[in-house]
């Protein structure tokens, strides 16, 4: 905008008449011309005072203006955080988003947890009293703790704990959870050097405030193998429904439990292959029944322990399903009969009774692990172990 334009707008704003506006325009234009002339005189005079040529003084003033503008711009940039100049120099950026396809644990964290729990397990099985109880509570959870308690109680009448994880110094980490939901798990395997069967371990953390503890440690059934899981940094997903599997984990374990009942019940086509563990359990039940047939009636039931089933997806889409069955052996003593239980040392140790006249029951936990195919085919028992945990009699 020229000075003339500015004057015209100012005159219009002041509502001056055309003549008044013309006079004002003329006078202002003259005033501006005078000012320009004065300014040139002033520059020449200033140059003379500074003993410079007029052109040199103008150049110096221009350079000074550029420097002042530069410094002002710098000051504004430096003092305005939103402009981000300093942030850009330091590389400050927004935090990345949390990934849903990564493991919440690092490999080192998972190994430290395994070592901590296995050390506590060893301590719990090699000490006694409150120290043992505290160590077992540190190492085990849920049915795993119940089984470990039973093993410690019956240590004097049962074979030494060949499954003690601390017999193997370096557990192999097989899988960890994927994502940040709960429950979370760790799957590990230990292989002893004395030729014993490899052991699969499942450790579970139910919520953010509760540490991982051993939920089960189960000997593998020869010649079973475990297919690989996804790589540890990306974790392995927990299968929360039967989607994408030949049979839903809960359904599989309920059918397996029903399959082992004594007396045997008619069953439809099984979704699992025959295995040596269930054969032994059924044979044992039949033998117990015939041994006490003249004095008592024997029955055996198997039920899936609540909240004990976990299914972990493997790399090829199959799943490894962990579960705990509660087996109850019940004896109903016939009238006018006394049954000696002295031969069953575990029962005597748990109940303190060497003779029963009415009834008795023994509770045993059955830890089982199945390999379940993605589609078609039957599931295979991979690992199994049983542990007597309670008894009662009258």
């Amino acid at each position: 905008m020229t000075p003339q334009d500015l004057i015209s707008k100012a005159a219009a704003a002041l509502r001056l008449s055309r003549q008044e506006r013309q006079d004002l325009f003329t006078k202002a234009a003259e005033a501006l011309r005078l000012t320009r002339q004065d300014r040139q005189d002033l520059t020449t005079k200033a140059a003379g005072v500074l003993r410079l040529r007029r052109e040199d003084l103008i150049r110096i003033v221009h350079v000074l203006i550029v420097v002042v503008v530069g410094v002002c711009v710098f000051a504004v940039i430096a003092s305005a955080p939103g402009w981000g100049a300093t942030h850009a120099l330091l590389g400050i950026h927004e935090a990345p988003n949390a990934g849903t396809t990564s493991a919440p644990l690092t490999v080192d964290q998972a190994k430290n947890i395994l070592n901590r729990d296995f050390a506590a397990s060893y301590l719990g099985q090699t000490t006694s009293g409150s120290a043992s109880e505290a160590a077992l509570r540190t190492a085990y959870t849920d049915q795993g703790l119940r089984g470990a308690d039973g093993r410690v109680k019956l240590a004097s009448v049962q074979p030494a704990a060949s499954t003690s994880p601390l017999l193997v110094p370096h557990p192999q980490l097989l899988a960890v959870s994927r994502g940040f939901g709960y429950p979370r798990f760790i799957v590990a395997q230990t292989v002893t050097t004395d030729g014993s069967l490899p052991i699969l371990h499942l450790l579970v953390s139910p919520d953010v405030a509760t540490p991982y503890r051993i939920s089960m440690s189960v000997e593998m059934v020869p010649p079973a193998t475990v297919k690989p899981f996804d790589v540890l940094p990306s974790g392995s997903p927990l299968v929360t429904s039967g989607t994408g599997l030949a049979v839903a984990p809960d359904t599989l374990l309920n059918l397996y439990a029903a399959h082992m009942a004594f007396p045997a019940k008619a069953a439809s086509k099984s979704p699992f292959e025959a295995d040596s563990f269930s054969d032994q359990v059924r044979a044992g039940a039949a033998a117990a029944s015939s041994a006490v047939a003249s004095q008592a009636t024997f029955t055996q039931t198997h039920t899936v322990a609540p909240n004990s089933v976990y299914a972990v997806r493997q790399a090829d889409g199959d799943a490894l399903v962990f579960g705990v069955l509660v087996r109850t052996d019940s004896f109903a003593v016939k009238s006018d009969q006394n049954v000696s239980t002295a031969a069953n040392k575990a029962f005597v140790l748990l109940t303190g009774k060497k003779v029963i006249t009415k009834s008795a029951s023994i509770t045993t936990l059955e830890f089982v692990i199945f390999a379940v195919p993605q589609s078609g085919g039957q599931s295979t028992l991979v690992a199994a172990r049983e542990q007597v945990v309670a008894g009662s009699g009258s």
Partner: protein, 217 residues
């Protein structure tokens, strides 16, 4: 290119160069040869001090966290995935570091929540941890971002007075700032020189034209 345009362009480049020189030199002085930027604040509110990923993972270099208690009590610094840290502190009184101010070195803190702190040490969510009486230090790498760092007493008792300092160290920043200052200086020198010479040429050209017109008359 017209002389006036060239001179305007020269002035802009010179101003830009001066801005770069000032900014680069300023950063060089502030960061020093070690390339360190520190941010510090003292919390006197009860509960834990939380450094969320918006602060902890705002740069791509490791962050050193130092927490100091004047009473010499135990100090613990732990880091966990941000989702887990948020979940375990959901009902607790916390003081959160919400922003850093460079170059002031200030750390904005704001208190929230009122619940008692749970015993965080029992949880398995912590990837890194350091615990020490009086003062603790923890170097947090950026490999598992986003993460949250939590400063506590190491158990369920409150921290009443704790000073938290974050240190970002990257020698590269020092050399980057030096490079910015150098590039700015080169730009400014060349542009100012061009302005100076251009003005002189313009003046000589004016003189030449004047002489020619006098001869014609």
């Amino acid at each position: 290119m017209p002389v006036s345009t060239r001179r305007a362009l020269g002035a802009v480049v010179a101003a830009l160069g001066i801005v770069f020189v000032a900014l680069g030199a300023w950063m060089v002085v502030i960061l020093g040869p070690s390339g360190e930027a520190q941010f510090s604040a003292t919390s006197k509110a009860p509960g834990a001090v939380v450094i969320p990923p918006e602060v902890l993972n705002a740069v791509d270099v490791p962050v050193q966290i130092t927490a100091t208690r004047p009473d010499g009590g135990s100090v613990s610094i732990e880091t966990a995935p941000s989702n887990d840290a948020r979940a375990i502190l959901a009902n607790s009184a916390v003081t959160t570091a919400s922003a850093v101010h460079f170059p002031d070195g200030a750390l904005d803190l704001h208190a929230s929540g009122a619940g008692a702190l749970t015993d965080l040490s029992r949880s398995d969510i912590w990837r890194l941890a350091a615990k020490s009486p009086g003062s603790a230090q923890l170097m947090v790498d950026q490999s598992k971002a986003p993460e949250t760092a939590v400063v506590t007493s190491g158990d369920a008792t409150d921290l009443g007075d704790v000073t938290v300092t974050l240190t970002w160290a990257n020698r590269g920043w020092f050399f980057e700032a030096l490079a910015v200052a150098t590039i700015g200086a080169v730009l400014a020198v060349f542009a100012l020189n061009d302005l100076w010479q251009g003005r002189a040429l313009a003046v000589r050209s004016d003189v030449g034209e004047t002489k020619t017109s006098e001869a014609a008359v």
